[in-house]
Symmetry: C2
Subunit: 220 residues, 2 copies
């Protein structure tokens, strides 16, 4: 289970090929580490090493993976490249997915220029701000647009995820607009508690939560 706050409609009837929540979450984590290991030129990695970086028990990792096939080589470990391909196939996230980013402040710029999303097939294809003074500014390959264009851009670009890097007081309004435009996944970097229909998934990013948790074990 997750420190991070994600759910979906658990009331839905799950298609038989849908993974349990826990496994999907862990596979995503393995993928993150594998992607970075590949960048560092690693060819193989053992379940023990993966355990060190993902903080998941190594037996659990081997068990998760062996449920889908025999991907490893005894005495050697897993081939990084081919495991990345396999996990992407399992998670069915091999494609490109378009993101719209709201807020062209420091956080928005940091997100737009990070590799974190790009490495996993997420592409920021539009940046919005409600401040007309910022509209027209260039951030990397993109030009800042006004919030008013949200609806048109979501349709044109096939936006799947909306990322809110705006002050808390602006977040709910944008969430409403995104929902109205048909976006079903919202990534909330503001402190606001968002209210959305059940079919929409909100993930609120809380660095301090993880820090509190780490601190508890440091203090005790």
């Amino acid at each position: 289970m997750g420190l991070s706050g994600l759910t979906t409609d658990r009331d839905d009837i799950l298609p038989p090929d849908r993974l349990p929540l826990g496994i999907a979450a862990r596979l995503s984590r393995y993928l993150q580490t594998l992607t970075q290991a590949r960048k560092m030129g690693r060819e193989t990695i053992s379940s023990k090493e993966l355990a060190t970086y993902t903080h998941v028990n190594s037996t659990q990792i081997r068990r998760d993976l062996s449920g889908f096939g025999k991907f490893g080589k005894r005495g050697v470990g897993y081939n990084v490249e081919s495991l990345v391909v396999q996990i992407r196939k399992i998670l069915r996230t091999s494609g490109q997915h378009n993101i719209a980013l709201f807020g062209a402040g420091h956080l928005g710029r940091a997100i737009a220029s990070s590799d974190g999303f790009a490495d996993h097939g997420f592409r920021v294809v539009a940046i919005f701000d409600r401040d007309s003074a910022k509209v027209g500014e260039r951030i990397g390959p993109l030009t800042v647009r006004h919030n008013d264009e949200l609806r048109a851009v979501v349709e044109e670009q096939g936006i799947v995820v909306g990322v809110l890097a705006v002050p808390g007081h602006a977040a709910q309004g944008l969430a409403d607009d995104l929902v109205a435009a048909g976006v079903r996944i919202i990534f909330n970097y503001s402190e606001a508690l968002l209210t959305v229909p059940p079919a929409v998934t909100v993930h609120t990013s809380n660095p301090a939560v993880d820090l509190l948790y780490a601190l508890y074990f440091y203090l005790t």
Copy 2:
């Protein structure tokens, strides 16, 4: 449990009063929501509402809390203010904790000026950059210092957590310096896979991991 990657030394002999990892993680999550609810002027909150925002089952929440006392009022819910106080007491994180931030780029500035940490008693008391051109710049109430001053500042200010908002290639070096200076909690916003001694806790922030996970359930 936990999408987020945090562990501590599980080999240690746990003092009898140490909470199971899962409960500590969830309590941190409740606290985040309660803090925000308090900001919004809410006086009470039900386990069902907390469940909506934290994505933890409402029965689980009531059970977690009832392990420490009867904090709620039947038919009404929990008093927000007093529950914040209780959970802080349980987590023993009522105090102020000093953070050192590395990297004065967009991400560093965003972190320094966010309320996210401050709300939970974490205070950024120093910002470092290795670029001499940035040293001396003011960010809010702080002045950017050069990385060289790390050791002295950690001792003077009693730094408990080091936050890395630097490019991946610079992260391991800073982690080594932090460890050498005695810091035991590192929050890594870079993509680098950090290697540290077992006594040190590293949390690597992976927004894309959570997004992949959300997307999986959207696509299936």
